[in-house]
């Protein structure tokens, strides 16, 4: 049967070549969209690692300190700002952070573990936030092992850090990271892991997994960089008009800084919108393109059936049933679809082979491929339905007379 269909298709190769090209490009479009959709979907289902309910952020703009003295004065001012924010009556908890959840900013560093012997493994890129002790409570970090920062850490001769699970995995593999050292950078204090929190995805629900590390900022340490943000846990039900009170109080403490207040779930909304809108636009265009292809294919197949009325009539006269005719029309199209998607698949598997996937995992890639294949087969099957029904209704007597 398949061999016969192949022969029939080959006989009409020129007409079929265009259909093949069309399905090929449709497959590429569907695959590109599916890749994005599957990637976002798997991200959406990962744990986020924090909770921003009733959390607000205060951004502070200040000058880059010119010398050591200015650095010290700045962190002192920050300590006063932090105390002032704590005293506000609707603020429950306060912390300072260099970057806040859902922000686009980030600081990355190439890190590796300190080897027990020999040379350090190649560094991996880890995102780093510098936070004060209160941060874990304000955004509800989920401690997996070890401990979080505490005020007594100020006395340590080394710098305590907390990793998220992803960072623990890429840096230490299956080993327990708590108590281990990171390879030392020249002129920098040694860093030692004191705890591990669950995956922390600063850039929000739709972003992929990214190794993350927290460094401790101490307001009593004059050489520490001043965090650029406060995160505040507000009393539930605090409304936006309270922002003005916060700003007035903080400006009183540091008149030379510029402050801005935002609720973190508003930031979250903006962040999501910025990511979803362009994708939505692309998906909409892709949907229209596919609708166009579907209608076009239906039209072309219909035309094919009309042209081949005599051939179909002959088959009917020779005793072929309607089902057999249906199967022929659908089968021919499915065969062409298969050839097109085989070509398409050969093209897209070059991505993992040439290691062009970037942050996309092979699982995401294969899931997207499966989704794209299903969609394309479903699409072409639907396109073949009406023309095959038409072909089935061909009356042999009329068809053989047709000219």
């Amino acid at each position: 049967m398949i061999r016969h269909l192949l022969k029939l298709a080959w006989n009409r190769k020129r007409a079929n070549a265009l259909i093949l090209v069309e399905i090929f490009f449709s497959f590429l479009v569907v695959f590109a969209v599916a890749l994005q959709a599957v990637y976002l979907w798997t991200n959406l289902r990962r744990p986020l690692g924090f909770d921003v309910e009733d959390a607000w952020t205060v951004t502070m703009e200040m000058d880059r300190p010119a010398d050591e003295d200015a650095t010290r004065r700045q962190i002192e001012t920050f300590a006063r700002v932090l105390r002032e924010a704590e005293r506000l009556d609707r603020v429950e908890r306060v912390a300072g952070a260099m970057v806040v959840p859902y922000s686009d900013e980030s600081r990355t560093e190439g890190l590796s573990k300190e080897p027990e012997t020999g040379t350090a493994p190649p560094p991996v890129s880890v995102e780093i936030d510098e936070v004060t002790d209160g941060f874990a409570d304000v955004v509800d970090l989920d401690l997996v092992s070890g401990r979080w920062f505490e005020p007594a850490d100020a006395a340590l001769a080394w710098m305590p850090v907390v990793l998220d699970l992803e960072a623990a995995r890429v840096l230490f593999g299956d080993e327990d990271p708590v108590g281990r050292w990171l390879a030392q950078e020249p002129d920098r204090p040694r860093r030692r892991v004191v705890g591990v929190v669950s995956d922390f995805r600063q850039h929000g629900e739709l972003s992929g997994p990214q190794p993350y590390m927290f460094e401790r900022v101490s307001v009593t340490e004059p050489s520490h960089r001043t965090p650029r943000n406060l995160v505040l846990k507000m009393a539930p039900g605090t409304t936006a008009d309270y922002e003005e009170a916060i700003l007035a109080r903080l400006r009183g403490v540091a008149p030379e800084w510029t402050f801005g207040v935002k609720a973190l779930d508003v930031v979250r909304g903006t962040n999501l919108r910025l990511r979803v809108i362009p994708l939505g636009a692309v998906a909409l265009i892709a949907a229209f393109l596919l609708a166009m292809v579907a209608l076009g294919l239906t039209g072309v197949l219909w035309q094919n059936v009309v042209q081949r009325t005599r051939e179909i009539g002959l088959r009917r006269a020779n005793g072929a049933t309607r089902t057999a005719i249906h199967r022929q029309v659908v089968g021919e199209l499915l065969m062409m679809t298969t050839s097109a998607v085989v070509l398409g698949t050969l093209l897209v598997v070059q991505l993992p082979i040439l290691e062009l996937l970037g942050s996309l995992s092979p699982e995401v890639f294969s899931a997207a491929l499966a989704v794209a294949l299903t969609l394309i087969y479903a699409l072409t099957a639907v396109c073949a339905l009406y023309p095959s029904w038409m072909a089935g209704r061909v009356q042999p007597a009329e068809a053989l007379r047709w000219e």
Partner: protein, 414 residues
């Protein structure tokens, strides 16, 4: 003859309504996407007030610094621009301004967020703002740190209510009080150099540390004396940047920037390989490739439909050929049909694009966007429609020309 072709074309199109509808749907949809993209592009890059003299304008938009092991890509600082962009030969005027930032106010206990841009006095001479009330602040205001502000119409309405005068009245932003000296028409958000809700002098910043910053938050626009002076400006800026003395040579040793057009600056920001040297050509190639890739599917679809339409009419073609119709005539007729169809789709596409642009404008996704179908975009759309007509008509026409009359008469295509 042409009238006859047109008549036949309409008849044929009406006879197969389904095919015609699909073709029109495809053409108009593709055109809508292309036109909306073109309109957005035009919105960002074409001269519109207040940026009316783009042909003579160059900007220093980005700054990349490199040192041993450290790199930074971002925006120039005030001190860097002061030292490199001031008094360039061939430049008529030069302005330094900050990137717009959010500023918060609470008039009548409501929260209002405005985009605030800090500029010098020359800003108002380099750009061509349209004042509805009052006027700009001056270089003197900037030198003396006067707390004066120019606001746009929307801000005037937000703070002072509809149909009121604002000049002379106070406005509070980020806890600082300014006196309004002028009101301008709204500037679209995507005109990044000019855009803001409120413009105030740079010297009203709370601290003066910006005067010593090499990087961060500022840009400069240079108005050349003439278009011919632009290469001179570019060269002189490059040599000044090459000679730039870093106050802290331990951190960075080399700076990369240029007197760019907007598109050149965009190539620096988008393409990692263009960090040292703007590559507008490469960016254009990438964008055009994307556009062509997007058009492939609709074009193949249309070709397919056109081919079907022709094959269906093999007997008609056979008759025409048998009675001495030349291939040229037949191909001509078919192309006319195709062009009529495409132009029809183009008209629908134009109408739909206008609707889509209106919807984007309404949605407020892009503040103060004015996305209109101007004649330039209309011509682009027309050109694209014709391109499509020819593209999707060539292969079917070639097939038609090769049909042998004898077989065609019998209703066989090959």
């Amino acid at each position: 003859m042409l009238r006859n072709y047109l008549k036949i074309a309409l008849k044929v199109l009406l006879r197969r309504k389904f095919f015609t509808a699909i073709s029109l749907f495809g053409i108009s949809l593709t055109l809508v996407v292309l036109m909306v993209t073109t309109a957005l592009f035009d919105h960002v890059f074409a001269p519109h007030p207040p940026e009316t003299r783009l042909d003579r304008t160059l900007g220093i938009y980005t700054l990349r610094l490199e040192g041993e092991g450290s790199r930074s890509s971002g925006f120039p600082g005030y001190a860097f621009l002061e030292q490199t962009a001031r008094d360039l030969p061939g430049a008529e005027r030069m302005t330094i301004y900050s990137l717009q930032q959010r500023a918060v106010s609470y008039p009548d206990r409501r929260k209002v967020l405005s985009w605030l841009k800090r500029t010098d006095g020359e800003f108002w001479n380099v750009l061509d703002f349209r004042f509805v009330e009052g006027g700009p602040f001056t270089a003197e205001d900037e030198a003396n740190g006067h707390f004066v502000a120019v606001i746009n119409e929307t801000t005037r309405e937000r703070f002072f209510g509809p149909d009121t005068q604002a000049v002379g009245r106070p406005i509070e932003l980020d806890g600082q009080r300014y006196r309004v000296v002028g009101v301008v028409e709204d500037v679209p958000f995507l005109r990044f150099s000019a855009f803001a809700d409120v413009w105030v002098p740079i010297s009203t910043k709370a601290s003066t540390a910006y005067r010593h910053e090499i990087r961060g938050g500022f840009q400069a626009l240079i108005l050349a004396e003439s278009e011919e002076a632009k290469p001179l400006i570019r060269e002189e800026l490059q040599s000044r940047v090459a000679d730039f003395q870093f106050p802290d040579p331990d951190e960075f040793q080399v700076a990369y920037t240029g007197a760019d057009t907007l598109f050149e600056a965009l190539s620096r920001m988008l393409l990692p390989e263009a960090a040292h040297q703007a590559q507008p050509g490469r960016l254009l190639t990438i964008l055009l490739t994307m556009a062509v890739l997007f058009m492939v599917l609709p074009a193949v679809n249309l070709t397919n439909l056109n081919l079907s339409r022709i094959l269906e009419r093999t007997s008609e073609i056979g008759v025409r050929k048998a009675f001495g119709g030349s291939t040229r005539e037949l191909v001509g007729q078919f192309l006319v049909e195709n062009v009529v169809l495409t132009l029809l789709g183009g008209a629908i596409g134009l109408a739909l694009s206008a609707l889509a642009l209106g919807a984007i404008e309404e949605s407020g996704l892009i503040p103060y966007a004015e996305l209109t179908l101007n004649p330039r975009i209309f011509l682009w759309g027309l050109a694209m429609a014709l391109f499509f007509a020819v593209l999707s008509g060539v292969y079917p026409a070639w097939r038609m020309a090769r049909m042998s009359p004898v077989r065609a008469l019998r209703g066989r295509s090959a």
